[in-house]
């Protein structure tokens, strides 16, 4: 996980033509073109009371991991898509795309939500925290360290969501029991069956963080 993260941030910095970097660039160009038409459209159809947006892309601002980002999204764009394809934050994974596995868990206004079932326009001024925001610079979050130590990740698809659920528990309850950990990660499905390791890692991290 650490390697993957290092690589993608390096690529982003140097404009290296990795697959991810390319997709990111391509995405922005198309969206940018759409935006020119839509800002005019959105303006004209604006009634006196509420506000209408779309169906073409509109520019929104989103606070992600403490930074204010400007992005251009259609009303149908989910938060998961906005994070992954528009902001290049591919740490958040999409697996079921229906709210049933929690792989896509991020924090919205400090609470875990499914980013695949949240529309980007719904975020508004509420802050978003993703797996990328958990580490402090090069220093991993104690829970991330514990996941490595306890071998709590196999294929890794569920891992970012699992960590965001468990990290939220540690933020709100410094002395969790095994039952608390199970409850907090109840929505997170892991097809590789890492559950016992996830539970151990979370309890170990709780101890370390005291």
């Amino acid at each position: 996980m650490k390697n993957d993260k290092d690589k993608s941030s390096k690529n982003a910095g140097k404009g290296n033509l990795s697959r991810r970097g390319f997709l990111r660039g391509a995405g922005l160009t198309t969206a940018g073109t759409v935006m020119l038409n839509s800002s005019v459209l959105a303006f004209e159809s604006q009634p006196a009371t509420g506000k209408a947006f779309g169906p073409d892309a509109v520019t929104i601002e989103m606070k992600v991991n403490g930074e204010l980002k400007s992005l251009i999204v259609e009303p149908r764009t989910t938060l998961a898509t906005a994070l992954r394809d528009h902001l290049g934050l591919t740490g958040t994974k999409v697996v079921c795309d229906r709210g049933a596995c929690s792989a896509c868990t991020v924090w919205l206004d400090g609470r875990p939500v499914n980013s695949c079932m949240t529309l980007a326009l719904d975020v508004g001024s509420r802050p978003v925290e993703t797996i990328e925001g958990l580490a402090e610079g090069n220093e991993l979050h104690p829970l991330q360290e514990a996941f490595i130590e306890h071998d709590a990740s196999q294929c890794g698809y569920c891992t970012p969501g699992m960590i965001m659920s468990a990290a939220h528990l540690l933020k709100t309850n410094p002395n969790p029991t095994l039952q608390d950990v199970k409850k907090a990660t109840r929505g997170n499905l892991c097809r590789c069956g890492t559950y016992p390791h996830v539970f151990k890692a979370t309890l170990a991290a709780a101890k370390k963080m005291k």
């Binding site: 009303p75 875990p112 079932m117 929505g187």
Partner: protein, 338 residues
Amino acid sequence: MNRFSWYEAKSVEDALKNANTTLSEELYSPSNEAAFFKSGGIDVLDFLKEGLISPKTIVNVRDIPGMDKIEHEHNEGMTIGANVTLAEIEHHPDVAINFPALQMAVAHAATPQLRNMSTIAGNLAQRTRCWYFRSVDHQCFRKNGDRCFARHSETGQNEGHAIINNGSCVSVHASSIATALLALKASVVIQGGDMKKKVVSIEDFFVSPMQDISRENILGKKDLITEIKVPAPSANTKSFYIKQVARESYDWSLADVAVVAEMKGNTCVDITIALGAAAPTPIRSYEAEKILKGEQLNDMSITKAAEKAMEVARPLSKNGYKIPLFKSIIVRALSELI
């Protein structure tokens, strides 16, 4: 998912002015002009992602000011704003103290993530999870089609379907929270397009497929739920809720029951017993209630009530197991009242 516009409603009136249909009406007879409400958006997005529905506009009611409060008055009871999330109900201290059955039902619905997003109004207005209904390849009765796929005795995958009132569509209602609200005699406050307020009991809010196959609740084109009211329990009231699922972590209900009883010692003065995932709507078992009203609650009377509750059951080809399952959770829930 089709492209759609987003209307950010600023008030109840504004929302009503800008909606022209319900998700259910659009599903039954599609137009190219649909504009309907979205709150938490979980069920709406599910339909959009499956390609079951292509609205022109989504009217977002999620951020209308004043619709996200829980208020509690000892004599009156509790008023839950339409946009209150399931997580907010789950963690509200007044809910756990006064309405344990509701707290338990909410805490066992969906996942922690979904409870942070789903609203109580959206939960009550969500559609059935019957997999044929949710599949674009199956034009069932509820989508203006000509059959119920689940009913078929050989090919019907009807393990999760109805054992009671299953003469038409055999789906069960998806809200396990409604079971508790029914037992607690809650009501739904609806603001119509004419800005008139209607207060409807939970029992009358849900519509059975025999009454109208195209819908599961009474909400019309311009009907916005503004709040849910749960009346104050009389003194010495106890309540309990049990949801049986296929796995420990989280799942849709196979069978759930809520019981609310006014007790005098071990005598049951008054009682409501509500069943979820038994019929196309959440239902009360009036027959079982009758057996216990004015009687001592003990092993014998409780078992008799559970047997009675299942007398009306007519299982389909693959859901006979629900009968012993219901009997067992009804007995367990009633035992908690003693």
